[in-house]
Structure formats: C-alpha cells, structure tokens
Amino acid sequence: MFSYCTDPQTLSGLTWLSCYLTTGKHMAFYVSFGTVLLLLAITAPTALLFGFGGAAAARSRIAPVSWLGKGYIAIVRGVPDIAFFLFFVIALDQAFEWTRHQVLCPDWSEPIRQGNDFVVCPQAKLPLGDAPQWVHETYGFFVAVLTFAIVFGAFAANVLFGAMRAVPHAQLETAAAYGMTRRQTFWRILVPQMWVYALPGLSNLWMVLIKATPLLFLLGVEDIVYWARELGGTANPRFTDYPHGDWRMWYFLALLVFYLAFTRVSEIFLERLMQKLTHGQATTGGEAQRKAPA
C-alpha cells in the first residue's frame, strides 16, 4: 500500500502496523463489512415483504391460501437455521438450474441425477460456467439474501399476524359500519395501525438478523467473521511477510465493538420510529403522548 512497505522485515511499531493493516487481505476484510451491511440493507425489506405476504395469506378467508401462509410460518420457524441454510441453499440453486434445464435443453438425453451428482446442461448452469468470478460471487450473495429473507420472513410473518389481530376490533367494525369493503378496511384501517404492535417483535428480529450474518460463510460468502478468523490465526513467517501469533482475540474484539455499535445505533433508530408510530394511536403510549404538554 505505502511505498515503505516493500520490505516489512525492517519495519517496526506503527509503520509495520500501517503496512500490516493495509495488505490486500485486510482490504478484503474491510470490504466484507460492506458485504454484511449490504446484506442487511437488502434482506430486511425483503424479509418484511415475505412476512407481510405470509401474514396476509395466513389471515385469508380462502382456506388453501390460509393453509399456505400458516404452513410457511410453521415449517420455516420450526427448522433449525443451520440445517435450513445448508440444505435449502443447495436445493434452491438446484431448483433454479433444473427449471432452466427443462426450458433451455429439451433435447438433453442424460439424467440430471447421476448417483450423487447433479448434472444439468452447460447452458442451464447458474451462473454460466464461463462467467467471471464476480458473477458467481454476486449470485451466491443473492441466494444468501433470498434464504435469509425466507427464514426471517417466516418470523416476521408470525409477528405481523399477531400485530394484525392486536388492532382493536372496534376499529374494524367501525370501518365496516362506514361501508368499507374488506380490502379497504385492510389497507386503510388495519395496516396503518398494526405497525405499532409489530415493532417490538420486528426490532427483536432485526437484532437477531444482525447477529445471524456469520451464517453467510456457510453459503460461501466471505463475511467479517471468516476474515477475522483467517487474519487472526497464527501467521507463520514461511507463508507471510507479516508473521504474528494467535491474534484472533483482537480481531474478534474489533467485531464485538462493531456489532455492539451497530446494535446501539439500531436501538436508537428503532426507539425514534416507535415514538413516531405511537403518535395518535389508541394505545397507552399514544395516550401518554397526547397528554404530554405540547
């Protein structure tokens, strides 16, 4: 990185550290923080969308739709995360490839399952075999996002389902009395009011999601915990210009600070959001806000 870094053996103290902390490997470590934040930024709204869909389906008057929503919530919530991540991602990837295979290679004569192997025609591969590495990584990342969204969506669905039932029934009856259709009642009365009941549960989920990101490496995405373990491990002088002992403690300490700071910022933000959502609601919180001197 810096011009004086050409011969690290002669360096010491802060100069050594400045070179050490700017190696390509460390840069990958810093980038992985961005990966984690990006994952959270995309996963949270997607999971909320899945959750909303699941909750709305579970409430449906049409029995099969309701079964679908309830089944989704029950099954995904019941399966351990790690099992889900290990099995589901590979299954999901294969499902995509199988579908593409059926569409793109109708003339293919060989079986797709050959013993343990899963073989589709080269055109159906996702990403294509000759795609550059970054395409593979991006694809892996989005499969990860989708998996996280499905898992956390199920929990969010359960929270939202409860929140929808928590909205005072009188509100809905009043809407009906005014002649609103079920659809209108849902969108104009129920949904705007349910968030205040959903937020405590959702904020919990957000915190769990932040901490669940190390599962990323199971999916082949190199996240901050992977790099911290890799960089902190004993570095033998035979294989690196920057030998050091077992420094994992320091790297994990840095992660600890990162996670704590991140959850703290989230808490502050969620607290403000709660204040805003409570405004004008028929809850004790809303009542307190109303009575407070303006």
Binding site: G24, K25, G115, P122, G129, H136, G220, T234, R238, F239
Partner: protein
Amino acid sequence: MKKIILSTAALAFSASFAMAQDVVRMGTEGAYPPWNFINDSGEVDGFERELGDELCKRAELTCEWVTNEWDSIIPNLVSGNYDVIIAGMSITDERDEVIDFTQNYTPPDPSAYLAMSEDVDLQNGVIAAQSGTIQAGYIAEQGATLVEFATPEETIAAVRNGEADAVLADKSFLTPVAEEDPDLMIVGPDVALGGGVGMGVRESDTELKETFDAAIQSMKDDGSLNELIKKWDVASTF
C-alpha cells in the same frame, strides 16, 4: 445398439461443449498451509495453487480459484458449484464412493501428533483433529477421545490452550508450526494414513478426470512435480 451410438454421440457432443467453455473452477479450503492458504494480498497461494495452475496450463484449461468451507466442500462439488476439489484431500474409500479422484499428486504420507510435551498419552488422551478428515476418522477408531474443529488453525489452538493433549494432522502441516513455536513439538510415532492426495471431481465428469490424470502424469514424468513438492515441503517425493 442404435441407442448406444446415439448416447455416445450425445456424450461426445456434451463433452465438446464442456471443452468449449474451458473454464474449470477449482475449489480449495485456503486454510491449510503449505498446501493451500490465503496470502497477504488475499489470494489463494501455496503448493496446490502452483500445482493447479501448472496442471491447467498443461491441460490448456482456464482455471479459476474458489474457496469453500471444508465441511461443505464435497456437497458443493457434487451440486456443481465448482468442478474440482484441490484441497489436500487424501484419497479414501469412503470419499471415493461419493466423488472420483484423479491419480495422486503426492505419495501416501505420514500424519503426526503435535503436543506441548513429550509425555502425553496418545492412546487414551484427548486428541484434536479437523472434522471430516482421515485423521479424525483414525482417532475415532483408536479409542482416544476425539475433539473435532472446523478449521486446522483451531486444532492447534486447542492444544495451546490445553483443551486437547495433542493434535493429529498431516506432518507437512504440523512441522512448520512446531518449528515456529518453541512450546509445541512433534511427538510419538508417525501414522500412515490414506492413499495420497488427489484432486476430487464429480463421478460423472470422467472427461475432466482423464485430462487432469494425464497432466499429473506428465508432471510426474518430467520431474517437475517432485520439484514442486520439495519447494513447498509438503510430502515425500515420488
């Protein structure tokens, strides 16, 4: 008969297709020096990096390197996320049932114990090993108490902090560790395990297997494989 001819034609067609795209993805662990590790600039390095690049050059393939967690390295191969495992993987019967191996590129080599003192009880003590390795399988059979870890680094750390009495791993991996740390030493007799290290490919990928077999053979024949083994000090030579 007609069917056989047809399917051979289809096979030849598909094979030429596979050759046309020419990119072979090489899956490795990146945490097992000197075999494979991530170097300072964040790239895969080590004996297998150099070997793999040379083999690809000889086979006229374009190769790309991918790292994957050891535990899921075989499932990701068979589901097609990469095409080859080149990760210091010993050829064993159990693995051979799931995937295919090329011929070995290092001879069967001893494993060794690393411990904090000479007088540890290797028969009945607590021995660390990386999960899913031949060493872990061996300890489980021997009756010593096995503690498994996901990465090689953690097995060494377990010995340092006293969680395990010793660690069993490839001798080529443990020797540089023992040289570097005065507290750690190789103890007890060497243990002969496995049938050498080879590249893992999908069972359906016979074409690729043969290509790499030929490339490895050519490196064995002209002695360049032995030079590479000596350079990285990973094993005995052929």
